[in-house]
């Protein structure tokens, strides 16, 4: 059985094609999902790709969270549906309160497109189990609103609950505690500011370090 990974396209999504390639490279089957349909089409996991949904009007992700497909997604999360938001997808999940905290303007006020080094902190989630604890990886970052922010109590809870998934080695955007990705308490919903889907090919990326996120979900779903 092949794991079916849904990939949502919102108006203004940009990275859905590469997310689909990454799912395929990890052995899964990408299933396109449309923002306007209340239907997850039987997906075993869902990826919210990067981009500028609704042109980032108002705030990044603020409009996309109200898309019809998000109601279905939100309903499926308590049952354990694995969900990964990348970049704009991360922003949408924060706006939807499926993940804690928020993404704010980069410290330098410029868009930053750079290959960043990351350390994987928690390898017990459906999105990170293919990595070794403390493993260092290189993945592209490309965002203007990538600085992770949350109040002190939330940050402390994230740390103690193992919800910090990955951290920057060298902070590129002013993220609190160098946080590059977090999960919800249950661990099934994850958000990453860097783009692992663009690190799944030696030819077009800085390497294949990002494949593990997709391989984690695909192997977990096939009932490893």
């Amino acid at each position: 059985m092949t794991a079916r990974v849904g990939i949502i396209t919102f108006p203004g999504s940009l990275d859905e094609a590469e997310a689909a390639r990454a799912v395929r490279r990890a052995g899964g089957e990408p299933v396109p999902l449309w923002h306007d349909e209340r239907d997850l089409r039987g997906a075993d996991a869902v990826v919210l790709p990067g981009g500028f949904s609704y042109g980032d009007y108002l705030r990044c992700g603020a409009i996309a969270r109200f898309a019809p497909v998000m109601a279905e997604l939100t309903a499926a999360v308590p049952a354990g549906l694995p969900v990964l938001g990348i970049c704009n997808g991360f922003q949408i999940l924060c706006e939807a309160h499926l993940l804690p905290g928020a993404l704010t303007r980069n410290a330098g006020l410029h868009f930053v497109s750079r290959d960043v080094r990351l350390r994987v902190e928690n390898v017990r989630t459906p999105w990170t189990r293919a990595y070794a604890a403390g493993q260092e990886i290189t993945v592209p970052l490309k965002s203007g609103d990538g600085a992770y922010a949350a109040d002190e109590a939330t940050l402390a809870a994230l740390e103690s609950g193992g919800q910090v998934l990955v951290r920057y080695l060298g902070n590129p955007n002013g993220s609190a505690r160098d946080i590059a990705g977090v999960s919800n308490e249950a661990g099934n919903v994850a958000g990453l500011m860097p783009h692992p889907e663009y690190a799944t090919s030696e030819l077009t990326g800085p390497g294949c370090d990002g494949l593990g996120f997709f391989a984690s979900a695909v192997s977990a779903l096939v009932g490893a």
Binding site: L14, D15, F52, H110, F111, S201, L203
Partner: protein, 749 residues
């Protein structure tokens, strides 16, 4: 509110004074319009002719010269559509065609850098979309005043943020371009945006309104008061000196919404795929006026348009404003009546507003109505194709000989090893040659997942077909210093450099686009520079066998009497049969031998050394040798099996190229240079490259060079963590990186 001017009223009031001069028309041009119509034009017609006959839209000063691109074009089976279309279309095999074009947005980018540059990207992307292609990558060739000048900070930061804002949000990877600085661009920055798109054979769309009864649909943004007169006033006139009141021109700059353009792209591609479009045109300069006249002139010859059906952002707009508005993110399509419902439902799915505003007729007239009255009634060809054509006077400037006589041979050269070392470091730390990461880090190079090479590589390389590895390489180059010294040779050197950069990735150069940035065509010296540059480029393309497929002319790049250096920016597109065999500039293979290809002479006219160290510009630019360029390109295309890196030599010569290859790959090099070390390091002789050869393949590579009669010298090897020139100097990679990397951040923050 004054009564609407109509055709009836115009006929009845022949002597009513009209503001033709304010709209940029000369008195003879105005008289010609009256003759063509047999009456005075209505306000709307006057507006339409003023933008269509502007320099920007009509090419009235450049046309007589640009003809050479077609007349001298080399025979090429690769060309599916050429000059005159929105963009040239090139067959790259495998059933694929690509279309590419470069266009200027210089004047708006000085007045309002962020929006000016952003809408420059948006405009060229719609040109590519209008050909039926999916846009897949962009590049930007940028030139600014001195890096340290206060206004450069405003202009450069705004331009880069505009390109970043618009291009990133569209989801198009930015894969390269140029960044240069010179005092001549202080009041006239150059912002040239290139876009490349891909389609299958047979998907080519033509900008024609055929088939009487077919419906004309305007889709995308509502029309607003932005950019009115952008083509006629802003892009076709000279900025005055200080105190000229630039504020008055601010409303002429358009405001862009990349999200809407992204929806427009996806929407149009779905409309094309479903076969719902018979003709299509983008709306850029001159907006509705240009799209309707060009579609009608190229098609069945007639069109009726209800101007009051155009959706407006500002209800106060009347016919002249609607015709001239340059509101962004709009397209115009010609659709068979039976397909209109499906067309509109696709638009609705993407949230793109679409409105039927007229229909194709067989009357031979372009007629427009406003609340029932006819306000435009003209033969469309008179506006689109039969505008004024000027053979402007041209004269070789008196100072040209003096400039040529100021030979850099007389300049003091660095003395001894420490002087050579310091010279290299000062070049690497100069803004024009420094690491461009401060700029390129603001651009998304990864999006779409097909970027194989991007800056700081010699050329950008995009994969087209994942199965076969088919791809396209692109590079843009231009050198205003060379072109000032000799416009004919300077244009050819720009062509050669772009050709060489594409070849250095392992691709075969196929076709050329150009953006010709010059001062005022009303200055005979500028016109001479222009004529020489066009002649040089056309001759060069003929010899190299790469046709010009399209381009753009930007005149009036001058502040008061001071024109910019003549700056033709040349884009070359090449096909790469298998991008998995691409060559990077980076030294990554320890022990690889480094070969210097080509001949090196003592050529310093217009060089980076003369400029950076001495502030000198004079003498002759490097010698052009097309045969040598072609043979070098053949070697590079054939070398992918034995080479592990290749880098073209240009500004700053061998010294800068070696430093860049070391920094890119993270490994040092040790070289021994033949002859005069200063000349070997800093000469800018053309038709040269360095190639790092896979250990063990040296003989095979030398034979390859011999087969193509390309001079090749083994000058050393890759390895270690420093750049060492035997008996001359050693510089650690860290010191190179510090000097190269810190220059732009130190200036721009």
């Amino acid at each position: 509110m004054a009564a609407q001017d109509t055709v009836t009223r115009a006929a009845a009031t022949p002597d009513q004074p009209q503001p033709f001069a304010e709209l940029g028309l000369t008195e003879p041009e105005y008289e010609r319009i009256r003759q063509l119509l047999g009456r005075r034009p209505t306000d709307a017609e006057l507006a339409l002719y003023s933008v269509m006959w502007s320099e920007h839209c009509s090419y009235k000063s450049s046309k007589v010269h640009l003809r050479q691109f077609a007349e001298k074009a080399p025979r090429s089976d690769a060309l599916l559509a050429g000059i005159g279309a929105n963009a040239g279309v090139v067959d790259i095999g495998g059933g694929y065609a690509v279309t590419f074009k470069i266009e200027s947005h210089n004047h708006p980018s000085y007045v309002e850098p962020h929006q000016g540059a952003a809408t420059g990207v948006g405009g060229i992307v719609r040109d590519i979309l209008a050909m039926g292609a999916r846009p897949v990558a962009v590049m930007d060739a940028l030139r600014f005043g001195p890096a340290g000048a206060g206004d450069t900070r405003r202009v450069l930061s705004g331009v880069v943020s505009g390109i970043s804002f618009y291009g990133n949000c569209l989801g198009l990877p930015n894969i390269g371009g140029e960044l240069a600085f010179d005092a001549c661009y202080a009041g006239n920055p150059l912002v040239n945006a290139l876009c490349v798109g891909v389609m299958r054979h047979g998907d080519l769309k033509l900008a024609t309104a055929d088939g009487p009864g077919n419906q004309v649909i305007l889709l995308g943004s509502r029309t607003g008061p932005d950019g009115i007169g952008g083509a006629s006033v802003l892009a076709s006139a000279t900025f005055g000196g200080p105190g000229d009141g630039h504020a008055a021109k601010r409303p002429s700059v358009q405001v862009g919404d990349p999200f809407l353009e992204k929806l427009l792209i996806e929407c149009c591609l779905e409309l094309y795929r479903d076969g719902l479009v018979t003709g299509v045109q983008d709306l850029g300069a001159a907006g509705v006026a240009c799209a309707t006249t060009e579609l009608a002139a190229a098609g069945s010859g007639g069109m009726r348009v209800r101007l009051d059906a155009v959706p407006l952002r500002d209800p106060a707009l009347g016919p002249p404003e609607i015709l001239m508005s340059e509101s962004q993110e709009r397209m115009m399509a010609v659709v068979e009546p039976g397909n209109v419902p499906r067309f509109l439902s696709v638009c609705a799915r993407w949230g793109v507003q679409a409105t039927v505003i007229g229909e194709v007729t067989s009357t031979g007239r372009l007629e427009m109505t406003w609340q029932g009255d006819t306000v435009v009634d003209i033969p469309p060809g008179t506006a689109a194709d039969e505008g004024p054509v000027y053979s402007r006077p041209l004269a070789r400037p008196g100072w040209q000989d003096e400039l040529a006589a100021a030979d850099p041979a007389a300049l003091p050269r660095p003395s001894g090893a420490s002087g050579l070392r310091a010279t290299l470091l000062s070049l690497l730390g100069s803004p024009g040659l420094a690491d461009k990461t401060w700029v390129t880090e603001q651009y998304d190079r990864y999006v779409r997942g097909d970027t194989v090479l991007a800056m700081p590589e010699d050329g950008g390389l995009i994969r087209i077909d994942e199965e076969t590895g088919l791809g396209v390489a692109l590079a843009t180059d231009g050198n205003g210093r060379y072109t000032l010294l000799d416009p004919y040779a300077g244009a050819q050197l720009a062509l050669c450099e772009a050709y060489r950069n594409v070849a250095a990735t392992g691709a075969r150069p196929l076709a050329v686009t150009n953006c010709l940035n010059f001062g005022s065509p009303e200055d005979p010296a500028v016109m001479w520079q222009f004529a020489e540059a066009v002649r040089g480029l056309a001759d060069g393309c003929a010899v190299l066998g790469v046709p010009v497929t399209g381009g753009n002319v930007s005149f009036y790049n001058q502040t008061g009497e001071a024109a910019i250096q003549p700056t033709p920016v040349i884009g070359v597109l090449g096909v790469h049969d298998d991008v998995r065999r691409r060559l990077s500039i980076g030294f990554t293979a320890d022990g690889a031998r480094i070969f210097l290809l080509g001949r090196t002479g003592a050529e310093f006219g217009g060089s980076a050394w003369a400029q950076v160290v001495h502030g000198h510009l004079g003498g002759r630019p490097p010698q052009v040798d097309f045969g040598a360029e072609q043979r070098l390109a053949q070697v590079l295309a054939a070398a992918s099996g034995v080479a592990c890196a290749a880098h073209d030599l240009s500004d700053g010569g061998l010294a800068v190229a070696l430093a860049e290859s070391c920094l890119r790959g993270g490994l040092g090099a040790r070289v021994t240079l033949p002859g005069d070390v200063f000349t070997a390091l800093f000469s800018e002789s053309a038709a040269r490259a360095i190639v790092a050869v896979r250990p063990g393949a040296e003989t095979e590579f030398a034979q390859l060079c011999a087969r193509y009669a390309v001079p090749a010298v083994d000058i050393g090897a890759v390895g270690g963590h420093q750049l060492e020139v035997t008996d001359t100097f050693v510089i650690s990679l860290k010191e190179l990186a510090d000097v190269h990397g810190s220059a732009l951040p130190a200036i721009f923050g």
